[in-house]
Amino acid sequence: MQQVVNGLFLGSIYALFALGYTLVFGVLDILNLAHQAVFMLCAFTALALVGTLHLHTLVALPIAIVAAGLVGVLLERAAFRPLRGRSDSNISGLISSLAAATIFEALALAAWGPGQFRFPFGSVPDRRLQLGGAIVSEVQAVIIGISVAMMLALTWLLRRTRLGRHIRAVAESPLAARILGVNVDRVIAASFFISSALGGAAGVLFGLAFNDVSADMGRSVELKGLAVIILGGMGSMPGAVLAGYGLGIIEVFTVAKLGSSWRDGVSFAVLFLVLLLRPRGLLGQAATRLA
C-alpha cells in the first residue's frame, strides 16, 4: 500500500510532465526536447522566489508556473515558429529544441552553478499523515492534489472551452482549422503556454518533493518523460496520464523488489519494449489526436 502511494505520487509528476510533452506533439508534430529544461528552470524560479524573495511556497508556485508558461511562449516564437512550413520541420524542430535546451541549461548553470540546492528549511511542509496502511507525507499529498487539480483543469479546458476546441482542431489539421477561422498562431502559442506551465509545475513539485534542485535535474526526467509518452501514445492526453501513473507505480515497485540501481533501467526497458512491440503505445493512433 505504501508503495502504491509512493507510485501515485511519483506518477503524478510524471503525468504532468508528460502531458506537456504530448500536448505540443499532438498540436505541432514536434518533440520539444527543451521541455525538460523548462521543468528545471521553473524549479529554480520557485526556489529563488521562496529562498531569496521569501515568498510563501504556495504563493511562489503559481507565479513560477505562469513564468514557465511565458518561457514556453517565447520558446515557440523564437525556436519553432520560424521553422513552420519547412519540409523537415520535425527533425529541424527537434534540433532547434535541443539548442534551446542547451541555452536554458547554460543560463541556469551560469546563474546558479552546478550544485544541488535545497528549499529553505520550513518552506516545505513535512508532516506525516496516516492513510490506510500507509504513511503519506504532507508534501506527497499536496503534490498529488495539485497534480490532479491541474489535470482536471486541463481536461475542462480542452473539452469545455472555445480555446480547447481550437486546440483540438489544430491538432487534427492546422489547415482545416485555419480555413474555419481559427487563429492558428495564437492557438499554438497558447498550447506552448499550457505545455510549459505543466512541465514547469512538474518541475517545482519534483523539486519540492525531493528537496533537490539542480541544473541537470531535467536530464533524468527527460527520458522518463519520453518513456511515458511513448507508452501512453504520442499525442494522447489520457495516454500520458495513464502511462505516467503506470510508470510511477512500476518504478516504485521495481526499486522495492530489485534495488535502486534498477530505477532508471525500468524506463528504458519500458521504452524499448513499447517501441519494438507497439510503437503507437497504449492509446496512441497513427494520426495524432488529442483528448
Binding site: A100, F104, L109, A227, F268
Partner: protein, 299 residues
C-alpha cells in the same frame, strides 16, 4: 621555426581533440546522410572507449589492433540493435537511440569490473595527432569515394524520399543498417582514440550531452557534404578558446559559456543556415543572385 614549435606545443592537444571530434561528428553524419536522426553514438563511443582501454590495460596487443577492436565491437553491436530500431520513423528513432545511449551509460555505471562511475584510469597515452588524423583521413577517404557512387546516390535518395527510393529497387533497410553500423564504428574508433589521449574513460563522458555535442558539430558544419562535420568540429572545438576573452569580460564561467555558445550557434544555424557553414558560399551566391534579379526588376 622556433615559433612554429612553440605554437605546436601549445595547440597540440586542441588539434588532437579536433580530430577526435571530427570523427564523432562524421559518425553522426553517417546516419544523417541517409535521413536518419540517430542519437546513439555516445553509447557506441563508450563501448569503443572501454574496449580499447580494457585491451590496453590487460593485454599486450599492438595499438593498431586495439583500435580495430574499438571500432569493430560497436559496429557489430549496432547490427542487431539497428534492425528493429531503424524501422521506426523520425522522432521515434531519435527517442529509441537516446534511450540506447543511456542504457550503455547506466550499464557502465553499474559495472563493478570497470569501477562503475569512476571508470578506468592510467591508460597509457598511445594516441597522438598523427594516429588520429590518419584515422580521420581514412574515414574521409571512404566518404569521398562513397559520394557519387551508386551506393552514395542510393543513400541520398533514401534521405530525400525513402518510400520512393524503395520503389526504385533500393533496399533501404540494408543501406540504413550499413550506415548505422559504420557510424557506430567511427564513434567507437573515436572513443578508443580519446581513451588513449585523455588517460581515462568514465561513464560521465558518454552521456546525452556528448551526443548533443556531436550533433551540433555535424549540423553546424553542414550535412550536405562530408567536409561539413569536420569544419563544425574544428569550429566548435576552437570556440572555447575564442570565448576566453568573453568569459573574462562577462564574468561568466567558461563551462556554461561554452554550453551557451554551442546552443546559440546551433539555434542560429538551424534557423538561418540550415545546411551549415559548408553551405555559406552557396547561400551568399544565391543571395547575390536574388539582389541582382530584384534590382533588374526595379531598374
Amino acid at each position: 621555426m622556433e615559433a612554429l614549435l612553440e605554437w605546436w606545443l601549445t595547440y597540440q592537444s586542441a588539434v588532437a581533440f579536433i580530430g577526435v571530434n571530427a570523427l564523432l561528428a562524421l559518425s553522426v553524419y553517417a546516419t544523417l546522410s541517409c535521413g536518419q536522426l540517430s542519437l546513439a553514438n555516445a553509447g557506441f563511443m563508450a563501448i569503443g572507449g572501454y574496449a580499447g582501454a580494457l585491451l590496453t590495460l590487460h593485454t599486450e596487443l599492438p595499438f593498431a589492433l586495439v583500435l580495430a577492436a574499438a571500432a569493430a565491437l560497436p559496429a557489430v553491436v549496432a547490427v542487431p540493435l539497428g534492425l528493429p530500431v531503424l524501422r521506426l520513423r523520425g522522432v521515434f528513432l531519435a527517442i529509441a537511440t537516446i534511450g540506447w545511449g543511456e542504457v550503455v551509460r547506466l550499464a557502465l555505471v553499474n559495472w563493478d569490473y570497470t569501477n562503475g562511475a569512476l571508470g578506468l584510469v592510467a591508460i597509457p597515452q598511445r594516441a597522438g595527432p598523427g594516429v588520429i588524423y590518419l584515422c580521420l583521413a581514412l574515414a574521409l577517404f571512404v566518404f569521398w569515394r562513397l559520394r557519387g557512387s551508386r551506393a552514395g546516390q542510393a543513400l541520398e535518395a533514401i534521405r530525400e524520399d525513402e518510400p520512393a527510393a524503395r520503389t526504385l529497387g533500393i533496399d533501404t533497410t540494408a543501406y540504413k543498417l550499413a550506415m548505422f553500423a559504420f557510424g557506430a564504428g567511427l564513434a567507437g574508433l573515436a572513443g578508443g582514440l580519446e581513451a588513449h589521449l585523455t588517460f581515462m574513460v568514465a561513464p560521465s563522458g558518454y552521456g546525452f550531452s556528448r551526443v548533443v555535442d556531436m550533433l551540433v558539430q555535424a549540423v553546424v558544419g553542414g550535412i550536405a557534404h562530408f567536409g561539413g562535420p569536420v569544419l563544425g568540429a574544428a569550429f566548435l572545438t576552437l570556440l572555447p578558446e575564442a570565448l576566453r576573452e568573453v568569459s573574462r569580460v562577462t564574468g561568466m564561467e567558461p563551462g556554461p559559456l561554452r554550453l551557451l555558445a554551442n546552443g546559440l550557434v546551433l539555434l542560429l544555424v538551424i534557423l538561418f543556415l540550415p545546411n551549415g557553414i559548408v553551405s555559406l558560399p552557396q547561400r551568399v551566391r544565391e543571395w547575390r543572385e536574388e539582389r541582382r534579379a530584384a534590382r533588374a526588376l526595379v531598374g
